[in-house]
């Protein structure tokens, strides 16, 4: 491959990274707004948020992208710049998946925490901001990390609409060189490296957030804690299920 072709690939990487960043921001915002709305006390708010989730999870991301590109412009007279159209379609779709994560994590917070907030006469918004979210957010990170990888894979879909991302640049190089094995192997490897970096960053974030509420990340227990658990298990082994603990 010549350096000119590599330049094409580099531009593609840059577009993919930009699109990933913007749609991840939008998806994050959507998932928190919709996810919190699904725990609202008014049924109509819960219903609308649930309806949104089912519609956007029910249909395919590629169809959403087609819809934003082809139906939105004639129907409403909007013509979006490709980057924003891609961001909108991906952000709304993956935001719907993310809202399930947010809702699940909020529901998993110990009910006593919410009751404590009521007893201290916090307003609903204070309860959410000061009690529920700080405990729920660290629990969301592993699921969000998986979703982020799905989103990265989703960004390749915009190349179908002719946006010059990494998958699109692969196609251009294939046409220029008249052979595909080499370039597609490189492009798959580049996607894999990006995904690997993302999981690393998310794992670091999880560690920091969990340290903030006094927890350890999953699967990362110190030797001391493990030994203590083993000691507990062997000490409690004799008493069995009915034993006093």
């Amino acid at each position: 491959m010549t350096s000119g072709l590599w330049e094409l690939v580099l531009k593609g990487i840059w577009v993919t990274v930009q699109l990933l960043f913007l749609s991840a921001l939008l998806a994050g915002a959507v998932s928190f707004v919709v996810g919190i709305a699904r725990t609202h006390r008014l049924w109509i708010v819960r219903f609308l948020a649930g309806f949104y989730t089912e519609v956007f999870r029910g249909t395919s991301a590629l169809i959403m992208i087609f819809w934003v590109y082809f139906v939105l412009p004639p129907a409403f007279g909007w013509q979006l710049v490709p980057m924003w159209a891609g961001t909108l379609a991906l952000g709304l779709t993956y935001g719907a998946y993310g809202s399930e994560v947010v809702r699940g994590a909020l529901n998993a917070v110990d009910p006593a925490q919410r009751e404590g907030g009521i007893a201290l006469s916090f307003t609903p918004w204070q309860r959410m901001r000061l009690i529920l979210l700080p405990q729920a957010v660290p629990e969301m990170i592993p699921s969000f990390s998986n979703l982020l990888i799905e989103l990265l894979k989703g960004t390749a879909l915009v190349s179908v609409m002719g946006m010059g991302d990494l998958a699109f640049s692969a196609n251009l190089v294939r046409l220029a060189l008249q052979q595909s094995a080499e370039i597609y192997t490189y492009v798959l490897l580049i996607y894999f490296v990006i995904a690997f970096l993302l999981t690393r960053v998310m794992r670091g974030l999880e560690k920091r957030l969990k340290a903030g509420v006094g927890k350890r990340p999953e699967g990362d227990r110190s030797k001391l804690a493990l030994r203590r658990e083993m000691a507990d298990a062997s000490a409690g082994g004799g008493t069995g299920v009915g034993g006093i603990r």
Partner: protein, 216 residues
């Protein structure tokens, strides 16, 4: 915004053709992913790391790279190696392979969820390894993972429109073809969008019901 019902009527015959291809791809892709996922999951339990390590790397690689690029890879690179499949076969293989790396994790969780007492009982009864797997472990593991596998079938359904890019005329392919011929984009695209919701939402309700019944 103009909505033209006659365009919907004209599109419907194409829609049914597309639906048939979508369902074909879905069923065959599911079969491949279920079978291959089980193979991966079992290979990951082989005692030597010379098997586990390559299988782990390959499946991790397939899971973390876009299905779209994998489709292009199979569609353009295999003919260079003198292996030619039809577009639909290529698509089915790609989807099956991609999702087998997800079902593999489902099977793994199912196998690990079988209580250790079952393994010990199989040893105590002196069952050979093969019988331990086929008669004791797998029946219990698979029963537990049916709803999770079903959820991946729904995800797979939502990824079948990707086959359009390698010239398979499934639902989205038919819609695009019709749009380009008649210059009406709104109706066909909306029809298939609604069709996807109408299929996948009841299916996800079914999986939730199955989960309540099978997993306890």
């Amino acid at each position: 915004m103009k909505w033209d019902w006659s365009a919907v009527g004209d599109f419907m015959p194409h829609f049914w053709d597309g639906l048939l291809v979508t369902l074909q791809a879905l069923v065959l892709g599911s079969v491949i992913s279920f079978a291959l996922g089980l193979v991966w999951a079992l290979l990951m339990r082989v005692p030597t790391r010379w098997v586990r390590w390559p299988v782990g790397v390959v499946t991790e690689f397939i899971r973390n790279t876009p299905l779209l690029v994998q489709l292009f890879f199979l569609f353009y690179v295999l003919p260079e190696w003198n292996i030619t499949f039809s577009a639909l076969t290529t698509g089915v293989v790609a989807i099956g392979l991609h999702y087998s790396t997800y079902t593999m994790q489902v099977y793994r969780a199912g196998i690990e969820g079988v209580p250790p007492g079952q393994w010990e009982a199989a040893t105590a009864l002196n069952l050979p390894l093969r019988r331990t797997w086929t008669a004791v472990i797998l029946p219990q593991a698979i029963r537990r993972v049916v709803p999770a596998l079903g959820n991946y079938v729904i995800s797979m359904l939502k990824d079948t429109p990707l086959l359009m890019v390698i010239t398979v005329l499934e639902m989205l392919g038919e819609a695009r073809l019709y749009s380009q011929q008649h210059f009406q984009f709104t109706e066909p695209l909306t029809v298939i969008g609604v069709a996807f919701i109408l299929i996948s939402y009841p299916a996800s309700l079914l999986m939730r019901a199955l989960e309540r019944r099978l997993v306890r």
